[in-house]
Assembly symmetry: C2
Homo-oligomer: 746 residues x 2
C-alpha cells in the first residue's frame, strides 16, 4: 500500500473535523454550499467539540499504523462525548454504510443529538464501540479486558485527561502487570492532554513532561510525548511515534498527546481553552460559526452529494482492517458457547434434607476448575476477583489455572502464572472493567466478590446495564455472554470482619435496572448453586446476580431436585410443610433458608399442631408479576406457593425493601412480613448478628406464632430462648452448639 | 524531653506486638503468667496479624517524631483490619482509659473481636479514629480532607499495599496538587509494602525501588524508602527519615516502608508470607502459639497487673499530643455552627405560583457565595465537586472563593487560587473522601454532583452511614456536621448528554440506610431549595440528600410559603386543588412538580368538573410511617394530604420503587400509582424523555382520568396530543414551545 502524504492525512482530518463541527451545529446546508442562515442551525446545539479534533488526530494516526503494519486494531475511546469525531471517521471509512446502507451524510449530520438519531455520546448504536464513555473512568480497564487472550489484537485506548483524574483510571495503569505478552494482545494508551475539563485545568495537563514521564515509567510504561504545538508536522510525528510504539509493544509503549482543547477552533472563539469543551459558539454568533466552519473549506473535501474527494480515502486501511469494522467490537459474533461440564460428578449427595453439610462455593469451585480445564485451549473463560478467590472458597480453580501476573514476584507467592486465567487485583473497578472488555469482545467470565464490596461497582453496572439494553435494540449487534456476579462472603457470615463487611445493597441497585437485563438468584445450597451457575454461564445479554454462601452449611436438595427447583424459580418444600397451612414461612438465600427450616422445626415442638408451609425462592424475580419481569410467576403459581390470604413470614437474605419491591403488584402484599438485614451489625457471633436483625429462627418462629395465634406466650417463650442463647454467645464468645442441630427425618 | 534509646523503642514495639497477638488469641492468661492451655484461647480466633507489626512500627515512629518536634499529628490508618495494633498503642499511651477508665487490659484483650467488645476492624468506638478501613481505598483521601484548613496539623496516613491497588487510592496520590501549604496542614503517607494481600502478592510490593520512586516522584511526592530488612536498626532509620520528612514538608515527603508480612511471626509459622495475613496459627497449634507469644517476653514488659514497665512510657509524646487524643479525631468537639446567611435577600419573589422562572441551584449559588464570604476567616466550609460547579449553575460561589490548585496552571484557567475553598476534581471518590475527612475533623461542607454520577460513591456512602450510625452510639463522640449532597443536572434534563447521564439510583441506595442517619429532600423550586439547604447545613450526624434542578423553571412558593412547606415536609397546594377531590396528583422533585401542575391545569380544560388535589412532597421520608422514620407523617397528616381511598397519581423524580418502599406500611398503598424513571432514555428532547418514561403531563392527566372515570375517550385524547407533540419534537428537534405555557390565575 502506498503511503499517503501527510498533506493528505491533514486533509482527511480537516474533513473529519468539519463533519464533527457540522454535526454539532447543522440541520441543513450541511456542506455549506450556500450561505449559512439561522434555519440551517439546529434549534438545540448539543455536543462536545473540545475533544473531537484530538480523537480524529489519533484515529487517523491509527489508520496509518494499520495501513503500514496490517495490525488488527480496536479503538476504545474514553471521551465518549467526542462521538462526532468517531462518527466522522466511521462515515469516511464507510463503516456507517455497512450497518445502515441507507444513511446519508445529511441524515448523519442532522441526526446527531437529534431525537431518533444518534445520541450525543458514543453508544452501542455506533459500530466499533465497546465502551460508551459517558461515565468516565473505565476506558483503560475495558481496553485491557479486550486485549486478554487475543494475541494478535492491538487495543488502542484514548484516555482523556479529565477521565485520567478518576480513581478507576488511575488504578488501571497498573494493569500492564497482568497482561501476558505470550497469550494476550497489547494495549496502547494515548493520554490526551487536552488541557482542561468542563471549566478548569486538568491535573495531568498541569504536570510537567518530566513528571508525566516519571509517573508512567514508574507504572511500567514506556511513555512518548507527542506535542502538536511543538512540531510543524504533527501527523508525521504521530506516525513515527506509533511506528516506534508498534515495534516495541513488549516495552508497553504509551503516548502522551498534548494538543490544544478544541484544536482548530479560532482562539477568539475559545480555541485552546475550556470554553471549547462543549458548544463553543452560540446560535447568535452565526457569522463566527460560518467563518469557523468555512475555515475547513468543505468544498475542497466533498462534492455536492457529500462524496469525499478520492485522495481522502487513500489514508484508510484495507476494508476489513478499518477500525470501526474490527470483529472484536461486535464480539457476540465471535462468541462460542462454553463447554460447560456436566454437573453430576460435582453434585453433593443429599439423601435426606439437612443430613449433610457442604460449602456451596467450594462445590462450585470444583466445577469451575473443570470448566477452566475445558477451556484451556480456547482461552475464552476467565475469573476476575478482588484477591478473594481463596477466601471465597473457590480456590479449587487454582489447581486448573494460575493467577495472571507478569511482574517479578515476591517470595513465597503461590499459584501465580503469566498466562493464568484468574485475575486477582484489589480493585473491584478493574475486575469489572476487565470483564466488560472481555465479554464485549466475545468471551465469557465470572466475577466472584465479597457481597458488601460489590457496591463499589454500582455505577459501573448501572452503565453496563444501559449498554446491554441499548445493544439489545441494535439489530446488527450479536448477543454477548452475560455478566455473571457470584457474591459470597455474604453479610450474615461476616460476623468476624464486622459491620463494614455487611451490606447486601448491590442487589437492590440491580432491581432498578431493566427487567430485560437483570436476573437475581439466591441458591440455598450447593446443588442449586451448581445448577444456577451452569444456567447463567449459558445465557447472553444479561446481568446475572448470584448470591450464595461459602461456609459449610446444611444441604437440602439432591441434583435432580435442585434442577426442578431452579427451573420453577420458587417452590414449596413439601418435606418441611403441612397441608392447608395457616402460615407460610418463605425464604430466599442460604442463611435465611437455614433459619427458616430451623424455625419450622422449632414450631413443630413449640407450637404443636400449627400448620406451616415452607417455600424457598431461588429466582427472586419469580416473585414479580409477569408484566413487570419475564421471570414473574403466573398468578396461579404464586398462589400455589404463598396461598391467597395466609400470612407469609419471609426470611430474606438482603434488605427487606428488595422483597417489598418485587412483590409490588401482587394482591395484598401487606400479608408478607419480611425479615432481612436492618443495618445492625458488628463483630459478634453469627447467631447474634441474626438476632440483631430479627432474623434468627426464634424471631421467625415467634413472628409466625404471632401472625397466626396472637401473642399467646409461645412467642415469648421462643424469644426467651433466643435471648438466653444470645447471652451465651456474649459470655462464651461462640455460638451455642446445639442451635444448629435438627433432624428433618423426625 | 529526653530521647529514648532505640532499645526502648524496640521494647515498646515488642509490647505492642505482644498485645496485638494476644488480642487475636487469648481470652484468659492474657499476660502468659502461666502455661498456655486450650481454655485460654478464644473459641473463635478472629483478627488480622499480618499488618499489625508494621502499624506499630509507624505508630511508634510517629510517637518519636511528635516528641522531638511537638508536631500535632493525626494518624489515619488505612488497613483498619490492623485494629489490634492500634488498640495496643492506645492502651500503652493511656488513651483507652481516657474514654473508658474502667477498661482493664484483660478486658481489652479478651473483648477484642468478642461479642459486645471491640470489632475486629477500626471503628468509631476507637479513639483517634476518623476512618474505619474496612472497605479499602479511602484512607488517603480522608487524610487530605483532614489536613485542609488546619495549617498546624500533620496527618500521617498508613496506606496498605493492598489498598494501594484500589482506584480511589491510586487517584488520591494527586491530591497533593490541591493542598495549599499556606492555609492547610500536611499529609505524610506511609505506603506499607507488606508484600502480599489475602493470598497473593501486591502490585506495589512487586515494583522495584526505582519504579516506585519514579511513580511517586512523578505524582508530586518526595519518596524515601525505609526497608526494615536492609538495616540493623529500623527504628533509627525510620526516625531519621521522619525527621527529614518533617523538615521538608513543603516538598511533600512520603515513606515507602518495606517490611515482612506479619513481621515477628516465625517464618515456619508463615511469617513473611501471605499466610500471616489473618490468624496465622490455628488453635490446634497451641505449642507454636505459646512459643511465638513468649518470644515477646511479656514478663519483661508488664507486671502482674498488666502495668507496663516504666521505660516503655518514655517513648510517648506529652499527654495532649498522643496520637489517640488529637482533638481533630473527635472533630465534633471542634465544630462551630456555621454563620448561615439570612435567606430573604436571596429568595425569588413569587407573586403568583408559576408566574416567574428561576434556576434553583443558581439561586442557592448566590446564597452559598455569601456563606463562603462569611466563613472566609474561619475557613471551615468547603464545596467538593467533580468539575461541575459551573455546569451545575453554582458558579456564583467562584466570585467569593477560587478553586483550590497549587500546580502550575495551564493557560486561560479561570477562578483558580491556591487557597480557594472549592475543590474540583474529576473524581467523585476524591470529593467524597476529602469531605469525609473534613467533616469528621469538625468542619462543614457540601458535595454538589451530577445526579447520575453520585452512584460512583454508593459504597463510600454505605460505609460512611455505618460510621455515623456507630459514632452515634459512642458517648464521647461529639456530633459532626452532616454530609450534604446536592444532586443536580438531574436525569430529566440530561436529555442532551443522553442515557449514561440519566440515573436517579443514588437515592434508592440511601433508603437502605438507617433511618436515624438518612434524609432525602426534593425541593421543587428555588425558595424551597434555599430553605432546605439552610436546614441541612445546620444539622449534624446525618446524610442529607437534596435533589434539585439547575435549569430555569417555574417558581411556586414565596419564601414564607417555602418555609412552611419544608417544615411540613409535604402538603396540599390549595391554589391548584379542588375541595373533596376524586383524585390526588402527588409529586416530588422539580420536573415532576412542573408536569403535575401542568397535568392539573390540563384536566381543568380537558376533564371539566373533575376534582383534583395537588400534593407536593419535599421531604420524601415524610411518606414513611413514623415508626419507620423519624420524619414520617402521622396517620392524620398523611390522610389530610392523600385522603383515605381516592387514587393517587404520583409523579416521582426517581425510580418508582423508591416511593413504593417509603410507602410500605401505609394502609392500602396500592392506590398509589407511581410514575417515575423507567430506564428509558437517550439523547432527545426533554419532553420526549418524559414521554418515554410515561411521566409527561399528558401521561399523568390520562392516568388520573382512567383512575377516576375509566377509559372514556378523554384519556385517549390527552395521549393523542402527547403523541403529536412528540412527533413535533422528532421533526423539529426541539420541544414544542406551547407545552410550557399555563396561567394559574385562570
Amino acid at each position: 500500500m502506498q503511503t499517503p502524504s501527510t498533506d493528505t492525512v491533514r486533509r482527511y482530518r480537516r474533513a473529519c473535523d468539519y463533519l464533527a463541527a457540522a454535526m454539532i451545529y447543522l440541520r441543513g446546508n450541511v456542506l455549506l454550499r450556500e450561505p449559512l442562515r439561522p434555519e440551517h442551525l439546529k434549534p438545540r446545539l448539543l455536543g462536545h467539540w473540545g475533544t473531537c479534533p484530538g480523537i480524529t488526530f489519533v484515529y487517523s494516526g491509527l489508520n496509518g499504523l494499520v495501513r503500514r503494519t496490517g495490525q488488527r486494531t480496536l479503538l476504545v475511546t474514553g471521551p465518549g462525548h467526542g462521538a462526532p469525531a468517531v462518527h466522522a471517521n466511521l462515515w469516511l471509512e464507510g463503516t456507517h454504510s455497512v450497518v445502515d446502507p441507507d444513511l446519508t451524510l445529511a441524515e448523519l449530520i442532522k441526526g446527531f443529538s437529534w431525537p431518533g438519531g444518534f445520541p450525543s455520546h458514543l453508544s452501542p448504536e455506533v459500530p466499533g464501540v465497546v465502551h460508551e464513555g459517558g461515565e468516565l473512568g473505565y476506558a483503560l480497564a475495558t481496553a485491557f479486558g479486550a486485549a486478554l487472550d487475543d494475541p494478535d489484537l492491538l487495543v488502542a485506548c484514548i484516555v482523556g485527561d479529565g477521565e485520567a483524574e478518576t480513581g478507576p483510571t488511575a488504578g488501571s495503569w497498573h494493569a500492564t502487570k497482568f497482561l501476558d505478552p505470550g497469550t494476550c494482545g497489547s494495549v496502547l494508551p494515548v493520554l490526551h492532554l487536552n488541557g482542561s475539563k468542563i471549566s478548569s485545568p486538568t491535573i495531568y495537563a498541569c504536570m510537567s513532561d518530566e513528571e508525566l514521564t516519571d509517573y508512567f515509567r514508574g507504572a511500567g510504561w514506556t511513555p512518548r510525548i507527542v506535542d502538536v504545538r511543538r512540531t510543524d508536522d504533527p501527523d508525521r510525528l504521530l506516525a513515527e511515534t506509533l511506528d516506534k510504539a508498534h515495534a516495541e509493544l513488549a516495552q508497553r509503549p504509551m503516548i502522551l498527546l498534548r494538543s490544544p482543547k478544541g484544536w482548530g477552533l479560532p482562539e477568539d472563539a475559545g480555541g485552546g481553552t475550556f470554553h471549547a469543551h462543549q458548544v463553543p459558539l452560540s446560535a447568535e454568533q452565526l457569522p463566527e460559526i460560518e467563518a469557523w466552519l468555512r475555515s475547513y473549506r468543505p468544498e475542497e473535501l466533498f462534492d455536492e452529494d457529500g462524496v469525499p474527494a478520492d485522495d481522502l480515502l487513500e489514508v484508510l486501511p484495507p476494508q476489513e482492517l478499518r477500525l470501526g469494522r474490527v470483529p472484536q467490537a461486535n464480539g457476540g459474533r465471535l462468541r462460542r458457547e462454553l463447554p460447560l461440564p456436566e454437573l453430576a460428578e460435582f453434585a453433593v449427595d443429599v439423601d435426606e434434607p439437612g443430613s449433610v453439610t457442604a460449602s456451596a462455593t467450594g462445590t462450585t469451585g470444583e466445577w469451575l476448575a473443570e470448566l477452566m480445564r475445558a477451556t484451556e485451549q480456547r482461552r475464552d473463560f476467565r475469573i476476575m476477583c478482588p484477591d478473594e478467590l481463596a477466601s471465597n472458597k473457590l480456590d479449587a480453580v487454582l489447581a486448573a489455572t494460575g493467577r495472571a501476573f507478569t511482574w517479578p514476584l515476591t517470595e513465597h507467592s503461590e499459584h501465580m502464572s503469566r498466562d493464568g486465567r484468574v485475575m486477582e487485583v484489589l480493585s473491584e473497578h478493574l475486575c469489572q472493567g476487565w470483564l466488560q472488555g472481555y465479554l464485549l469482545t466475545g468471551r465469557h467470565g465470572l466475577f466472584p466478590c465479597y457481597e458488601a464490596f460489590a457496591s463499589i461497582v454500582d455505577s459501573m453496572v448501572n452503565q453496563y446495564a444501559k449498554f446491554l439494553k441499548m445493544a439489545g435494540e441494535v439489530s446488527w449487534r450479536a448477543p454477548v455472554a452475560s455478566l455473571n456476579y457470584l457474591l459470597t462472603s455474604e453479610g450474615w457470615r461476616q460476623e468476624h470482619n464486622g459491620y463494614s463487611h455487611q451490606g447486601p445493597g448491590f442487589l437492590n441497585n440491580l432491581l432498578t435496572k431493566k427487567a430485560s437485563v437483570t436476573r437475581v438468584y439466591l441458591p440455598p445450597d450447593a446443588n442449586t448453586l451448581l445448577v444456577t451457575m451452569r444456567h447463567c454461564l449459558a445465557t447472553t445479554d444479561r446481568i446475572n446476580l448470584v448470591v450464595a454462601g461459602k461456609n459449610s452449611a446444611p444441604q437440602w436438595l439432591d441434583l435432580a431436585e435442585a434442577e426442578r427447583h431452579c427451573r420453577a424459580g420458587a417452590g414449596v418444600w413439601e418435606w418441611a410443610s403441612h397441608e392447608d397451612p395457616e402460615v407460610v414461612l418463605a425464604c430466599a438465600g442460604g442463611v435465611p433458608t437455614v433459619e427458616t427450616l430451623a424455625a419450622a422445626w422449632l414450631l413443630r415442638s413449640q407450637a404443636p399442631g400449627m400448620r406451616v408451609r415452607v417455600v424457598n425462592v431461588v429466582d427472586l424475580l419469580a416473585l414479580s408479576t409477569p408484566d413487570r419481569h419475564p421471570h414473574g410467576m403466573s398468578a396461579e403459581d404464586f398462589t400455589a406457593c404463598f396461598g391467597e390470604d395466609v400470612p407469609v413470614v419471609f426470611a430474606f437474605h438482603g434488605y427487606p425493601s428488595a422483597v417489598h419491591e418485587v412483590l409490588h403488584g401482587r394482591p395484598d402484599p401487606s400479608r408478607f412480613h419480611v425479615h432481612g438485614y436492618l443495618e445492625e451489625g458488628t463483630t459478634t457471633t453469627p447467631f447474634d448478628l441474626l438476632v440483631s436483625n430479627k432474623m434468627s429462627r426464634y424471631d421467625l418462629a415467634a413472628d409466625a406464632v404471632r401472625r397466626t395465634r396472637g401473642d399467646d406466650g409461645v412467642a415469648q417463650e421462643l424469644l426467651s430462648r433466643r435471648d438466653a442463647l444470645k447471652e451465651y454467645a456474649y459470655r462464651e464468645g461462640e455460638d451455642s452448639p446445639e442451635i444448629t442441630e435438627w433432624e428433618w427425618s423426625a
